[in-house]
C-alpha cells in the first residue's frame, strides 16, 4: 500500500504546493490592484491640495478654464442623481425579486430571470440615446419643466441600469432561504405577506443588502448615460427640487474633461482628486454596508444557536 501510494503522493504534493499558492495569489492580487489604484489616485490627486486652496476647492463654482475648481457642485450632483436612482431602483428591484422568488410560478421565473439579466447587459450608451431622444423630451412636457435634461432623467436611467443588478442578486439570496422557514411561518398561521416581510426577507438580509450595495456602486460610477441626459450644468444641488434641474456629476466631469487636459496641470490634478473623492465615497458605502451585514449575521447566529 505504502509503495503504490508513493509516486501518486509526489505528484499530488507538487499540485498541493502549486495550486493553493496560485489561488492565494489570485486572492491577494485583488487587494494589490486596489492598493495600486488607490496609490496612483493619491499620487496624481493629492498635489491638488497644494495647488488649490481648500476654500476654493470646496467652493460653489466649477469653471476650470478660468481656474474655478469648486468641486462641491459635482459632489452634490453625483449624490443627488444616485439617491434618486436608489429611490427608484431599490423598491422596484426588491419588489421584482420578491415576486420572482416567492410569488411567480416556476415557469415564469425561468422566463423572467434571463430577461432581467439581459436588460442588465444593455450598454449604457444605448440607454443614454433613449434618454436623450425619448425620456427627456417627455419629462419636459409631462412635468412642464424648462428642460428635460435634468437630474431626474439621470436618476430614472440609472435606476433602470441598477434594477437588473439588484433583482438578480436579491433573487438569488431569497431563493437560498430554506423552504422549511416558510413552511414554519405558514404553520404558525402567518399570511403570505407576513411570511415574506418578517421571515424570508430578514433571512436573506445580507444578500439583499449586497444587492443594494452593488446597485449603488453601479449607479455612482456610471458615466456615459449620465453625461448624455443630466445637462452637465455645475449647479450646487442642495434643495429637494434640484432633482428637476440640470446637474453635473463627478464621473461626467472626468469623462468630458480628461481627454483635453494638459498632463500635470492643476486641472489634471483636480480631476484625479475628483476620482479620489469618488473612490472614497464608494469605500464608505462598502464599509457601511458590510458592517451592517456582519452585525446582522452575528445576531442571526445568536438566535439560531
Amino acid at each position: 500500500m505504502d509503495k503504490s501510494h508513493n509516486p501518486r503522493k509526489t505528484g499530488a504534493g507538487w499540485q498541493e504546493i502549486f495550486i493553493p499558492r496560485m489561488i492565494k495569489a489570485c486572492g491577494y492580487s485583488a487587494i494589490l490592484f486596489v492598493a495600486l489604484i488607490f496609490f496612483f489616485l493619491l499620487r496624481e490627486g493629492l498635489p491638488t491640495l497644494g495647488e488649490v486652496e481648500a476654500g476654493a476647492l470646496f467652493g460653489e463654482r466649477w469653471y476650470p478654464i478660468e481656474s474655478y475648481f469648486g468641486i462641491l457642485p459635482l459632489i452634490t450632483g453625483s449624490l443627488l442623481v444616485t439617491l434618486g436612482a436608489m429611490a427608484i431602483a431599490v423598491p422596484f428591484g426588491i419588489g421584482t425579486a420578491v415576486f420572482m422568488a416567492e410569488i411567480a410560478p416556476r415557469w415564469m421565473r425561468e422566463v423572467l430571470k434571463p430577461l432581467v439579466e439581459l436588460l442588465g447587459g444593455l450598454p449604457s450608451v444605448v440607454l443614454g440615446f433613449l434618454g436623450i431622444l425619448v425620456l427627456s423630451p417627455y419629462l419636459r412636457v409631462f412635468l412642464d419643466l424648462p428642460t428635460g435634461l435634468t437630474a431626474l432623467a439621470g436618476s430614472l436611467l440609472l435606476g433602470g441600469i441598477a434594477v437588473p443588478t439588484i433583482v438578480s442578486i436579491a433573487e438569488d439570496a431569497l431563493d437560498a432561504v430554506p423552504y422549511s422557514y416558510r413552511e414554519a411561518a405558514w404553520a404558525m398561521g402567518a399570511t403570505r405577506w407576513q411570511t415574506i416581510w418578517r421571515v424570508t426577507l430578514p433571512a436573506a438580509r445580507s444578500g439583499v443588502l449586497t444587492a443594494i450595495m452593488l446597485g449603488i456602486g453601479r449607479t455612482i460610477g456610471e458615466t456615459m448615460a449620465v453625461m448624455m441626459v443630466t445637462g452637465n450644468a455645475p449647479v450646487l444641488a442642495l434643495a429637494l427640487t434640484s432633482i428637476f434641474h440640470p446637474v453635473r456629476t463627478m464621473t461626467a466631469t472626468i469623462a468630458a474633461e480628461m481627454g483635453e487636459v494638459a498632463n500635470g496641470s492643476v486641472h489634471y490634478h483636480v480631476l484625479f482628486f475628483i476620482g479620489l473623492a469618488l473612490f472614497v465615497i464608494s469605500l464608505i458605502v462598502n464599509v457601511a454596508a458590510s458592517s451592517v451585514v456582519f452585525k446582522s449575521k452575528k445576531r442571526a447566529e445568536r438566535v439560531l444557536s
Binding site: 424648462p146 428642460t147 445637462g231 450646487l236 468630458a256
Partner: protein, 296 residues
C-alpha cells in the same frame, strides 16, 4: 477631438505613403533629379484639420511631385512648430500672439499670415420661438444669467434654457470672449452656472430641435435647416444680421472669426503654389462644402 487628431495623423501618414510611388514615377517622367518631389509639412488647429486634409487630398489628386502631410494638435502647437522650423505651414484658428512673433523673430523666422477661410458661429433657437433677433449685449446678458425669460427679449413668457459646448471646445472659448465679454479683455463675466454644457454639437442641435425654451450656438456649417438662426446686431440700434457667406465676409455679422495659415517668411515655390491654390475658387468651394465660409 482626440479622434480627429488620430484621423489626421493616420490620413497624414497615409497621404505621404500613397504619394510616394506616384510622386516618384511622376518625378521620373518630368525631370530626372529626385528632388523634384516637394514636401509640405502642415500642422496646427484642430478646427481647421479636416479642411486642411480635404485640401491636401484634392491638391495631391491632380498633381504629381508634391506630398503634403497634415497633422492637428492645436493652434499653439502649430505655431510653436513653425517657430522651431519643423513645419512649412502652421494652421491657426486665432491670430498669432505678439509674444509668439517675438519668439519667432528671435529664432530668425518671420511669420507671414494668410487668411484662408472664415468660421461663423450661429445662434440657434426652436423654430416656434417668435424671437428672431438679438443684440450682442442681450446675448451676453442671456448667457451670463441676467436675462432669464424670453419675454424680456420680446418673446413668449418662457424660461430660457442656455446651451453651450463643453469648456474644452475652442468654440466655447471664442463665444465667451466675443459674446459674453463683448471682446473686452478685462471683463471677467462667466457663463451662468445653470448653462447646460453638452459634449457634442449634435447634443445642442437635438435639444434645440425639441425644446422651445432653448438657445444654443454652433458653427454655421453644423446647423440643420429645421432650426431657426437668430439675427445678431453688434450694437443696440444697429442692423440685425443673419450669418451667411456675404455678411461674414463684409464683417457685418459680429460672431465670426478668421482662420489662418502662417508660413516662415515669404513662402517658397511649392508652398507658394499651394497657398495660391488654397485661395483659388476651386479650393474655396471645398471650404463651403465643409461648412466654413469662403473668403470670397
Amino acid at each position: 477631438m482626440k479622434f480627429t487628431i488620430l484621423l489626421a495623423l493616420f490620413l497624414g501618414s497615409w497621404l505621404v505613403a500613397c504619394a510616394t510611388p506616384a510622386g516618384g514615377e511622376g518625378g521620373g517622367g518630368n525631370a530626372s533629379p529626385p528632388e523634384a518631389t516637394a514636401y509640405i509639412e502642415n500642422k496646427g488647429s484642430d478646427t481647421i484639420v479636416n479642411l486642411a486634409l480635404a485640401w491636401a487630398e484634392a491638391y495631391q489628386g491632380g498633381r504629381t511631385g508634391i506630398r503634403i502631410s497634415v497633422t492637428g494638435g492645436g493652434s499653439g502647437t502649430g505655431i510653436a512648430a513653425l517657430i522651431n522650423g519643423t513645419v512649412d505651414i502652421a494652421n491657426a484658428s486665432r491670430q498669432i500672439k505678439q509674444e509668439e512673433i517675438e519668439q519667432a523673430l528671435a529664432n530668425g523666422v518671420e511669420p507671414v499670415e494668410f487668411v484662408i477661410a472664415r468660421d461663423a458661429i450661429a445662434v440657434i433657437v426652436h423654430p416656434d420661438n417668435p424671437v428672431t433677433q438679438l443684440t450682442l449685449r442681450q446675448l451676453s446678458d442671456i448667457y451670463s444669467g441676467t436675462i432669464n425669460n424670453w419675454s424680456q427679449v420680446g418673446g413668449e413668457d418662457r424660461p430660457i434654457v442656455r446651451l453651450s459646448r463643453e469648456t474644452n471646445s475652442g468654440t466655447h472659448v471664442y463665444f465667451l470672449e466675443t459674446v459674453l465679454r463683448l471682446g473686452d479683455k478685462n471683463d471677467k463675466t462667466l457663463f451662468s452656472t445653470d448653462t447646460l454644457l453638452l459634449p457634442s454639437s449634435e447634443g445642442i442641435i437635438n435639444e434645440v430641435r425639441q425644446n422651445p425654451n432653448a438657445i444654443g450656438y454652433d458653427g454655421l456649417g453644423y446647423v440643420p435647416d429645421d432650426l431657426k438662426i437668430i439675427a445678431v446686431a453688434a450694437i443696440e440700434g444697429g442692423d440685425y444680421v443673419l450669418p451667411m457667406i456675404s455678411t461674414v465676409n463684409d464683417k457685418s455679422y459680429p460672431v465670426a472669426r478668421d482662420l489662418y495659415m502662417y508660413t516662415a517668411g515669404q513662402p517658397s515655390s511649392a508652398v507658394k503654389d499651394y497657398l495660391e491654390w488654397i485661395l483659388s475658387d476651386e479650393a474655396q468651394e471645398i471650404v463651403a462644402e465643409l461648412g466654413f465660409v469662403p473668403i470670397k
